[in-house]
Amino acid sequence: MSMDDLYQEIILDHYRKPKNRAPALQDEDVHVHHSNPLCGDEMDLRIRVADDKVDGLVFDGEGCSISQASASAMTQAVIGRDLKDALDLAEDFRRMMHGDEPARPDDLLDGIAFQGVAKFPVRVKCALLGWMAVRDAIETYQSGANAHTVTHDDDGGAA
């Protein structure tokens, strides 16, 4: 494993100075808690929806640099988007993590920096954690609920 392939500067920046990392969100609509017991990652993600758009989004939790940085980059890429659009983007990211070329590289913003992680199978689920949490939060919102807890050790295929 080359450190440089995995830990690009952008990733380290997000890790050292995470964006939208906070323990609470005013007027939150949904709170999801995701954990990956096999890595010991824990993530709380809160979302506020307005006009069918992601109006507010924060995450908090514990995990390796990849999971924390990826969640940070995710928030920037997702805030302000239509719910449906955000789901689509999350799917794009997920497929990128499985080795596909992303369809919307520009929209992923810094998320694109994680493309190299696909080469490190054990780290793929770290990079996916935040994205799968936001996908779940949106779907939870759409289903009319306001909280959801998911325990997974997978690639986002299951909930």
Binding site: M1, P37, P121, V122, T151, D153
Partner: protein
């Protein structure tokens, strides 16, 4: 398509061994265990020498390579039997695969009054686990009888399922004694006609090495496979299943690798197939099995099948002409695989085996783990010659000579 057997034999060192001086080794016991070609040995050796480590979750290169080899084995085996890799659970042999079904399906789903259907030609591996479960749970087991020439008696089977109580069918695809290739589709249809919910397990141990198999086309719930009979290593087999079926099931062996989360009070299981693979798996063996699948695919399973069918026919025809020899099972090689059981009038199979061994010919003698079938045949044991891709017509003469010698030596 004919096989170039002379070339193939070069991949199997033991075939050049002279167990007795100046006597070529003639290996006719592949139904017990096949020989292992060099590429399989090389694949395992390579893992041990250069990528040796445990699988899953290792963050270093060796562990990634080991994981790829192991999971690659799963993907390859799945493709080989035309199944979803999520339905492929690695086990140590076919017997464990069948026990998995007995414990995690039969014992957890069936109640007194339910009937398990089996056949009179099952290997103990596909008979005893269900007998054992049936005794513990108070289930009834019924057995499909056989026709004169060693095929399943489908008319009798129809009667056996008529009351709709048959919930589970365990049957062998190709018999290790009679050689019979069973019509899985016909049996499955018959059972499901009587009870659409019936679950079907097919023992594919002898089929997969010998002919193209499509799990999807068979459309059964479970299919058991073993590595050591298909040019693969010892110590690995697989349960091939419909993933949905696995998802409905509780685990069998539990421990590391198969859990998602666990505390001192409770546990959640991992996704399939990991849920059924507890502990450090057979890593080198999976790498070896992948190489075996590649080896067989390279030769072509259709070619293997054609070679074996022609060769089996030649063997049966010639053996049947030897005085005092009775061949069990169907006469038409199209209806069978390459296991040929025979009796020699007045000579005990043990003595046949000893005489054949002295001529370099390896056959198996005994009940072949199929005592109920022996009883049905009215014999205590048979001698069995079984063929594979490294056998050819030149293996027939030593066999026949040995049989003739045994007869003149031992007949009182």
């Amino acid at each position: 398509m004919t096989l170039d057997v002379q070339t193939i034999r070069k991949d199997f060192p033991v075939l050049s061994r002279e167990v007795h001086p100046d006597t070529r080794l003639v290996y006719l016991d592949s139904a017990a265990s096949s020989q292992t070609p060099l590429p399989v040995l090389e694949a395992m050796d390579h893992y041990y020498r250069w990528s040796r480590s445990n699988v899953h979750r290792g963050v270093y290169r060796l562990a990634e390579e080991a994981t790829d080899l192991y999971e690659g084995g799963r993907t390859k085996l799945a493709a080989f039997v035309d199944a979803d890799p999520r339905g492929v659970v690695f086990t140590k042999n076919a017997t464990e695969a069948i026990n998995l079904v007995a414990y995690s399906w039969v014992r957890r789903h069936h109640k007194p009054g339910d009937v398990l259907l089996s056949t009179l030609m099952e290997h103990h591996a596909n008979h005893v686990p269900f007998l054992y479960a049936a005794k513990d749970l108070g289930l009834e087991v019924r057995h499909v009888p056989l026709t004169e020439d060693g095929r399943l008696d489908l008319d009798a089977a129809r009667d056996l399922v008529a009351d709709g109580r048959v919930k589970f069918l365990a049957m062998v695809h190709v018999s290790n004694v009679l050689g019979t290739r069973n019509d899985v589709a016909a049996m499955t249809a018959l059972v499901r006609d009587a009870n659409p919910e019936a679950v079907v397990l097919v023992d594919g141990t002898q089929a997969v090495p010998q002919m193209p198999v499509s799990f999807r086309d068979l459309d059964v719930d479970f299919y058991a496979v073993t590595g050591h009979k298909m040019c693969g290593p010892t110590g690995i087999g697989a349960l091939v299943a419909k993933p949905e079926r696995l998802e409905e099931m509780d685990p069998f062996l539990t421990g590391g690798e198969m859990i998602r989360d666990v505390s001192i009070e409770s546990v959640t299981w991992n996704d399939v197939p990991a849920k059924f693979e507890a502990g450090t798996p057979m890593i080198a063996e999976a790498a070896g099995l992948a190489a075996a699948v590649d080896y067989l695919t390279g030769i072509g399973m259709q070619a293997v099948r054609e070679h074996e069918t022609a060769l089996t026919q030649t063997f049966i025809d010639r053996l049947s002409q030897v005085e005092g020899v009775t061949v069990h099972g169907p006469r038409d090689a199209e209806l069978r695989g390459g296991a040929i059981s025979f009796a020699i009038d007045g000579v005990h199979p043990h003595d046949v085996g000893a005489m054949l061994d002295s001529k370099g010919v390896c056959v198996r003698v005994g009940h072949h783990c199929a005592k109920p079938l022996m009883k049905h045949l009215g014999v205590v044991a048979t001698a069995r010659a079984s063929l594979y891709l490294y056998n050819d017509v030149d293996d027939l003469d030593p066999l026949v000579e040995g049989i003739v010698a045994a007869r003149s030596f031992f007949r009182r």
